[in-house]
């Protein structure tokens, strides 16, 4: 009898407990108000940031590389950072509403705005905004209907990296990963995202002018098919695609990969003793990124988010961050803090040079190059094409 009573008591306790658990699990959804704030309040104590690798460094990767600790001390906002490998991945993560700040490239910003995930930003509340290059402000990837959705961070190109021992003579053209790819069959790599189709389009612009590609993000069906054909023939030589930067880093170091697309930061991270690599901007030009710090429309820490936007566009911090990633900073002032030659290497502030980089953009049905007689392929078409290329 005693035993049975005990069992019933335990049963009742478990039942009560599970009910408590249930009621505690009822979520509360933060309301997503739009419209920019006009003044800032007290910092909330924490801010979560979604960014490209190398954008939010607190010294844990390299003790010398740290522009987060100072910010935390100064503002009292504890930073939690999450890195992502492709804009698609970032879009999925951003939609979870768990991130206050997102560093987004041009193939993501407009999708964020269209999906109502980005909050309008009042640039008056960010003192460092003033010093930023004018040609980065109010561009189609950060401003929609005269409303600003973020702060320019920096820009750069997707480079061609090769192992100098294995790939000779040194390539100067993207031909190394297209026509010449069979020379290194199984050791070629490419960026694993539909947006990589634009890289093929940049190559076709230079080598097959009769296709009439004016903008690699604005491809009609025939032009997309040509890019897909090129990438399908490349596929036969590709050892693996990469979206995780540490994977491609390891792959170059072990020699599994010897040539392919990369970012400057990956080239910097590779141990030259393990694999002597060189990263170049090929003669055809390249695709690239032009990144924007955005605030989530679901942010629970908007004040800390503003504080971060101001901190990261501080010339000294911006110089550190952009130099570490390997891209041009967002202001002339930042160049004063950057190492010698950095701004020259990345042509910071050189508008004419920036014109040559095809910054990531979101392909949409209305042709971005202004054609009206034909419908262009959109990002969904590109995603489908990308799956088909990989097969």
């Amino acid at each position: 009898m005693r035993n049975i009573r005990t069992r019933h008591t335990i049963g009742a306790a478990v039942a009560a407990l599970s009910l408590i658990t249930l009621s505690a699990c009822g979520g509360d959804d933060g309301d997503s108000s739009t419209g920019a704030v006009d003044k800032l309040g007290e910092n909330e104590g924490e801010v979560s940031i979604l960014a490209w690798p190398g954008y939010v460094e607190d010294g844990s990767t390299d003790p010398e590389v740290d522009w987060v600790s100072g910010f935390e001390k100064e503002t009292g906002c504890q930073v939690t950072a999450k890195v992502y490998g492709t804009s698609d991945e970032a879009f999925n993560l951003a939609k979870s509403g768990e991130y206050d700040v997102v560093a987004a490239s041009g193939d993501l910003t407009l999708r964020m705005v269209a999906a109502g995930e980005a909050a309008e930003v009042n640039t008056d509340l960010i003192p460092n905004y003033e010093g930023i290059y004018d040609f980065l402000k109010d561009r189609e990837w950060n401003t929609v209907d005269d409303k600003n959705y973020g702060i320019p961070h920096g820009y750069g190109a997707n480079l061609l990296m090769y192992n100098t021992k294995d790939v000779t003579p040194a390539p100067t053209s993207w031909k190394a990963v297209f026509e010449d790819a069979p020379k290194h069959k199984g050791q070629v790599t490419a960026y694993d995202s539909p947006i990589y189709i634009a890289d093929a389009a940049v190559y076709l612009m230079a080598h097959q002018p009769d296709l009439g590609i004016e903008n690699p993000y604005s491809l009609d069906e025939k032009q997309l098919a040509a890019a897909v054909d090129l990438l399908k023939s490349q596929r036969a030589s590709v050892g693996e695609y990469w979206s995780d930067y540490t994977k491609t880093q390891a792959s170059f170091e072990t020699g599994d990969t010897v040539v392919g697309t990369t970012w400057q930061v990956i080239a910097n991270l590779i141990d030259q003793k393990k694999a002597p690599v060189e990263a170049i901007l090929p003669s055809e030009g390249a695709t690239g990124w032009n990144d924007t710090w955005m605030i989530s429309s679901n942010s629970k820490s908007p004040n800390c988010a503003y504080a971060w936007l101001n901190h990261i566009s501080d010339p000294e911090v911006n110089a550190q961050a952009t130099e570490y990633f390997g891209e041009a900073p967002n202001s002339d002032k930042a160049c004063e803090f950057a190492s010698e030659g950095h701004c020259e290497t990345f042509h910071a502030g050189d508008e004419a040079y920036a014109e040559k980089i095809w910054f990531w953009n979101t392909p949409i049905n209305d042709c971005l190059d202004g054609r009206t007689d034909v419908e262009c392929t959109d990002y969904q078409d590109w995603t489908k094409a990308w799956s088909e290329i990989k097969g």
């Binding site: 039942a15 249930l22 072990t254």
Partner: protein, 286 residues
């Protein structure tokens, strides 16, 4: 009301007691499992605004038509089933002798050690195991070195690498049920078969195997279905290959309904697998 008065009330009313006990787990089951699965099924018949990514809740068969019509999905489905079958075969081939040894031959002490040894990989993170295989398979890795001794290189990243890695990762899920099935085979049956003059091979085929098949089937359901849904291993060691999971992943950002439709493929395949297994009668003996 004190806890003891609550408990005495509850002890007098078994209905309320049962209701309270099951309320939370059942709510979870319905919400998390049934509703989520239903939402997935329904989403597959919706469409999406290509730019804003907003779901458009109008019924359409486009996604289903696409996944059944396009060659891409056929290729990837066949590849995924192929990997799942190979992984299941390899795991069963290892589990049958290993399970027999553990249950019938090994001493008590070494039996415990073996069980622990087979469970050990489960304590390590999935990612660590997949990445370990990446370094084993890479250029200059252990397999490259060992293969070099007999004149072969590493299989490299690709189909073979996926099969090897998945077979390793899901092995404990097959070994344990098979081992448990062997445990339940009474030693006296083996003795009786021997007394009646059956050779070991005949005893195994006619006495042991029929009793072990349910365990084998249970294990194969694990290895088969877990492999069908995997996409991380493919990303790490799969080279340029993709499986169904990768197609779901790449579409989940830009086209959720299509991703949901693709996710239906492994569900259908596993249901067919379960139906086939059921016809063998193995499920009733579980």
């Amino acid at each position: 009301m004190t806890l003891s008065s609550i408990s005495s009330t509850l002890s007098r009313r078994p209905g309320i007691r049962l209701g309270l006990l099951l309320a939370a787990p059942l709510t979870w089951l319905v919400l998390v499992y049934v509703v989520a699965l239903a939402a997935l099924l329904v989403t597959a018949f919706w469409t999406i605004d290509s730019f804003t990514n907003e779901l458009e809740r109008t019924f359409t068969l486009d996604n289903v038509r696409e996944i059944t019509g396009e060659a891409l999905y056929r290729t990837v489905t066949l590849r995924t089933i192929g990997v799942a079958l190979l992984v299941t075969l390899i795991d069963c081939a290892i589990a049958l002798p290993v399970g027999f040894y553990m249950a019938k031959i090994a001493s008590r002490r070494s039996r415990h050690l073996l069980v622990i040894a087979f469970l050990m990989p489960l304590w390590a993170s999935y990612l660590v195991k997949a990445l370990a295989w990446r370094s084993l398979l890479s250029n200059g890795g252990l397999l490259d070195w060992a293969g070099g001794l007999v004149g072969l290189g590493t299989p490299g990243f690709g189909f073979t690498a996926i099969v090897l890695t998945q077979a390793y990762i899901w092995l404990p899920y097959v070994v344990l049920p098979v081992y448990a099935a062997y445990e339940r085979v009474p030693d006296s049956l083996l003795d009786a078969a021997g007394d009646l003059g059956a050779r070991p091979a005949l005893t195994f085929r006619t006495v042991v195997l029929p009793l072990v098949v349910p365990g084998l089937v249970a294990g194969s359901i694990f290895s088969f279905s877990l492999t069908m849904g995997d996409y991380i291993t493919v990303n790490i060691v799969g080279g340029a290959n993709q499986m169904l999971g990768n197609l779901v992943f790449i579409n989940s950002g830009s086209n959720l309904p299509l991703a949901a439709a693709i996710a239906l493929i492994p569900i259908v395949v596993i249901m067919i697998y379960l139906a086939l297994v059921r016809r063998t009668g193995a499920l009733e003996n579980l």
